[in-house]
């Protein structure tokens, strides 16, 4: 959807000062993302814009809640807040590098673990669909979500909100925006949330998906003449349960959630960013410098059964520094150019010990070891002295990157032609140290236990250099806009840290057998190599045409068609057999094509209707994992269809009761295949939401509901230790909210 028409539609929808300021703001001082997107990309990219009131009506306050609102955009709700799997146009990633980039107030969020948090006072969300790698670089090959929050320069006042909902869920927000004189503004805001959870663990009868969290943001802005400075500090903390995974029985029956080891996730994320914007006569210069810190820890019953198999505790600490400078140069009305430079450095330290417990030792390690031996000596076996032991894995993963990019646009009447290119370099090093210590004996020959230590220590380095071009042509008439683009997308390669427990488990087995002088025939794939720790970058070529039609200010229709040729698509797979890890693999080649359509219509003064539909057909052209050929199969986890229907009706009552607003929405997604073989899938499903809001001048009372029809659906499927699991979607939720703006 052309960005310009979206701004128009928003202004037509809402007449609050917050929305109007959107346009004024662009004139006074632009953000870096606006400066980037103007010109070449302004009218030649598929985009979905949401402004503040739309976001509040649709209950959009994080990435997940926007799922299916934009066509072909899908964020399944499962796991925990570190999960954040995002799919767009058939591309996405369950672990490691995201396919969609996230920017909050021009600050890139590089770690997918930090994607899922409440954004306080969202001013607008702009979701750019399709590869944005020329402007945004790594990990934006499926799109970019650009979130902007309220500015204390352009909004002053206090906002309070309190909400109570199903599962004893509480949310409280408070923020204050103050302007000091003409040039200086300060905002402070905070939020708190709690829920008891909705899913019960049958093992102990306790609720699993409880959560406590909170955070805040402080923003200082200073504007004078052509110069503006902004400093934004954000903090978010999470302490939660999660992972209500259900075992699928042998007959396909979904059993209840039932596992024995405690599981929870804690996260602290901090960020601080300084933005400098200078608007010259025919140029503008922007710089954004950011630091972010992530400290999280996930503790997981990784077998998700009542048996004592194995657990994982993954703790990460990451510091990230970024710097981006963009210069806009518009010497004439016919020509404009952008020059940009971007650099980042990330230092990730991770510890991820896997603890094998009694059942895991017996089933996953000793069963294999004794299988061959007991053919010869049925009365004897290998035993471990320990009831549990750790496979420790420590990683240091520094990554840095640098990029230069340029775009040019020439306007010739109603036509404009643009081209851009980005040169992107990235280097990542993984230092790994995995080890395990056990004591074992073979009952036939060894009267005492003997120590066995296995280690897997080393260093891997990967570097990538990419050239990421984009060309576009655009036709812009008063009521009609059309564009065509060809662009290249890129997702960085990386390391499979989650396979290290498998590697060391294999190595320990081999060491034990070598120590005994026993050599078993290899029965399955071995990951006893450093090579298994890396995966390659993913590339795509995206071909897209689109158009928008605005016959009247009360009707906007957009259509886009795309074809994506993706090489080395990164997919998460579970190694065959009773493996404990998971790994990213490059799928060979896939192609994805589809269509996206959006209609915004205001048939009457008080009625607002919106429909957004996306279709994606993403299949493997070439993918053989060594055991199976998946050519022709659908790419898993990405829905084939998304559909969003919503309507708002507003009655203006009187001075006391200002307005009554009715809102209803229905969002659907599916079919979603869960595995590469396409054996399991979630058919298309839809969730009905609705709200009634009473606006009493500054006070708003609202009641709302989600999944009102109680639709049952699955949000996730996976295999662990040879068992299949799924997570059900959230059931019906009801809530009430009080908001006070003054």
């Amino acid at each position: 959807m052309p960005i310009s028409s979206s701004v128009v539609s928003s202004v037509a929808t809402d007449t609050t000062h917050l929305e109007v300021v959107e346009d004024e703001f662009v004139e006074v001082v632009a953000t870096m993302s606006q400066i980037k997107q103007q010109g070449l990309f302004e009218n030649s990219v598929a985009a979905t814009n949401i402004f503040m009131q739309d976001a509040e009506r649709e209950k959009i306050d994080d990435m997940r809640s926007m799922s299916s609102y934009a066509p072909n955009f899908f964020v399944p709700d499962y796991g925990s807040r570190m999960t954040s799997s995002i799919y767009m146009r058939g591309m996405g990633a369950r672990i490691d590098q995201p396919a969609v980039g996230l920017y909050i107030d021009d600050v890139p969020v590089l770690n997918k673990n930090a994607f899922d948090f409440d954004v306080l006072d969202i001013r607008s969300i702009k979701l750019l669909r399709g590869p944005q790698s020329t402007l945004y670089g790594r990990n934006t090959m499926a799109g970019v979500m650009d979130v902007r929050t309220l500015s204390p320069i352009f909004y002053t006042g206090t906002r309070l909100a309190a909400e109570y909902a199903t599962a004893n869920s509480v949310k409280v927000n408070a923020s204050h925006y103050q302007r000091f004189g003409e040039h200086f503004g300060l905002s402070l805001g905070g939020y708190y949330r709690h829920t008891d959870g909705m899913f019960t663990n049958d093992y102990d009868g306790e609720l699993l998906d409880w959560e406590n969290g909170g955070g805040g943001r402080a923003k200082l802005e200073w504007h004078k003449d052509a110069l503006s400075l902004t400093n934004t500090f954000s903090v978010d903390a999470v302490n939660q349960g999660g992972w209500p995974y259900r075992l699928i029985g042998e007959d396909g029956e979904k059993l209840t959630t039932n596992y024995n080891d405690p599981s929870n996730y804690t996260r602290l994320s901090l960020s601080d960013a300084v933005r400098v914007v200078y608007m010259g006569e025919n140029y503008a210069l922007t710089s954004v410098t950011s630091w972010s810190y992530l400290d999280d820890c996930m503790t997981l019953d990784q077998d998700f059964t009542p048996r004592s198999m194995f657990t994982l505790q993954q703790a990460q600490r990451e510091h990230t520094l970024t710097e981006e400078v963009v210069v806009k140069y518009d010497p004439t009305q016919r020509y404009s150019a952008r020059f940009g430079a971007f650099g980042f450095y990330k230092q990730l330290n991770m510890s991820a010990p896997v603890r094998f417990k009694r059942d895991g030792i017996d089933d996953l390690i000793l069963a294999n070891a004794n299988k061959g031996i007991q053919m010869m000596f049925p009365d004897h076996a290998i035993l471990f002295e320990e009831d549990e032991f750790d496979i420790s894995s420590d990683f240091r993963n520094p990554t840095w990157g640098a990029a230069l990019y340029h775009t040019s646009e020439v306007k010739l009447g109603r036509w404009s032609f643009g081209a851009g290119v980005r040169f992107d370099y990235e280097s990542s090093t993984l230092n790994y140290n995995s080890n395990a210590l056990i004591h074992y004996r073979f009952t036939m020959t060894m009267p005492r236990f003997k120590e066995l230590k296995s280690t897997f220590v080393g260093k891997n380095r990967k570097s990538f250099f990419e050239v990421l071009p984009r060309v576009s042509v655009n036709y812009n008439a008063p009521q009609f806009n059309a564009y065509a683009t060809v662009s290249k997308g890129y997702k960085a390669g990386g390391f499979n840290t989650q396979i290290f427990s498998d590697i060391l488990q294999n190595r320990m087995m081999n060491d034990l057998m070598a120590d005994l002088g026993v050599y078993l025939d290899q029965t399955g794939p071995s990951y006893d190599t450093a090579e298994a720790t890396g995966y390659k970058p993913e590339h795509s070529w995206n071909y897209e045409v689109g158009a928008s039609y605005t016959p009247t200010p009360k009707f906007v229709a957009e259509l886009s068609l795309f074809y994506i040729d993706c090489r080395d698509q990164q997919l998460t797979v579970f190694p065959a057999g009773k493996s404990t890890g998971r790994m990213m693999t490059n799928a060979g080649r896939t192609r994805s094509y589809g269509v996206e359509a959006t209609i915004d219509w205001w048939p009457m003064k008080n009625l607002d209707l919106r429909a957004a539909y996306g279709y994606t057909n993403a299949r493997f052209l070439k993918y053989n994992d060594g055991n199976n050929d998946y050519r022709g199969r659908y790419v898993p986890y990405a829905p084939q269809h998304t559909l969003s229907l919503s309507g708002d009706y507003t009655w203006h009552i009187n001075r006391t009761l200002d307005r009554v607003r009715l809102h209803a929405d229905w969002r659907g997604a599916g079919r979603i295949y869960w595995d590469e073989a396409n054996r399991y899938s979630q058919p298309f499903y839809g969730l009905l939401g609705a709200s009634v809001a009473l606006d009493f001048n500054r006070l708003t009372v609202e009641v709302w509901g989600r999944n009102l029809t109680g639709t049952e659906y699955d949000t996730f499927y996976f295999v662990s230790v040879g068992n299949a699991f799924m997570q059900s979607g959230r059931p019906r939720q009801l809530g009430a909210k009080l908001s006070f703006d003054f």
Partner: protein, 154 residues
């Protein structure tokens, strides 16, 4: 340890002293260090001889130089069993005509981390020359033989 520096056909040394200038000394059987041999292990299983080519054994001299250990690497007595390393410790020897002769009986081998009486070694006979080895023995009930040549690094 120097006893393993066996000059083959030691008697020939005396021949050299006897002014037979045309006699070339035989190669030295250097058994100071472990020596590996590659060859074929044959195991009689249910009356059938099952040969396994490209098998490896290692002859390891003891610290005091008075005996050898013979290590069978990855040996299988039946196809379905896992391959095993089996060590026959403390095998005494004699030197005759420049060759090492092995004879032993009733040795309990070491396997899978300890003594392995199931495969007690009996009727062990063998000859080691500078370039080859020829062994026969019984591991428990399994009649076993090995014929091989010294493994070279090339």
């Amino acid at each position: 340890m120097k006893i393993f520096k066996i000059f083959a056909l030691a008697a020939m040394m005396f021949g050299m002293v006897a002014c037979d200038n045309t006699t070339t000394p035989e190669e030295v059987v250097d058994m100071d260090a472990p020596t590996a041999y590659v060859g074929t292990v044959s195991v009689v299983v249910a009356g059938q001889t099952v040969p396994t080519p490209d098998s490896l054994i290692e002859i390891v001299p003891s610290q005091d130089g008075k005996s050898f250990s013979i290590v069978f690497k990855k040996i299988k007595f039946v196809p379905a069993m896992p391959a095993l390393d089996i060590t026959i410790p403390t095998v005494n020897f004699t030197v005759t005509d420049g060759a090492i002769n092995l004879v032993a009986d009733g040795i309990i081998p070491l396997c899978m981390g300890g003594e392995f009486p199931n495969y007690i070694v009996t009727a062990l006979k063998g000859t080691i020359t500078a370039t080859s080895i020829d062994l026969s023995l019984k591991f428990g009930d399994f009649e076993t033989s090995f014929k091989g040549t010294v493994q070279t690094n090339a």
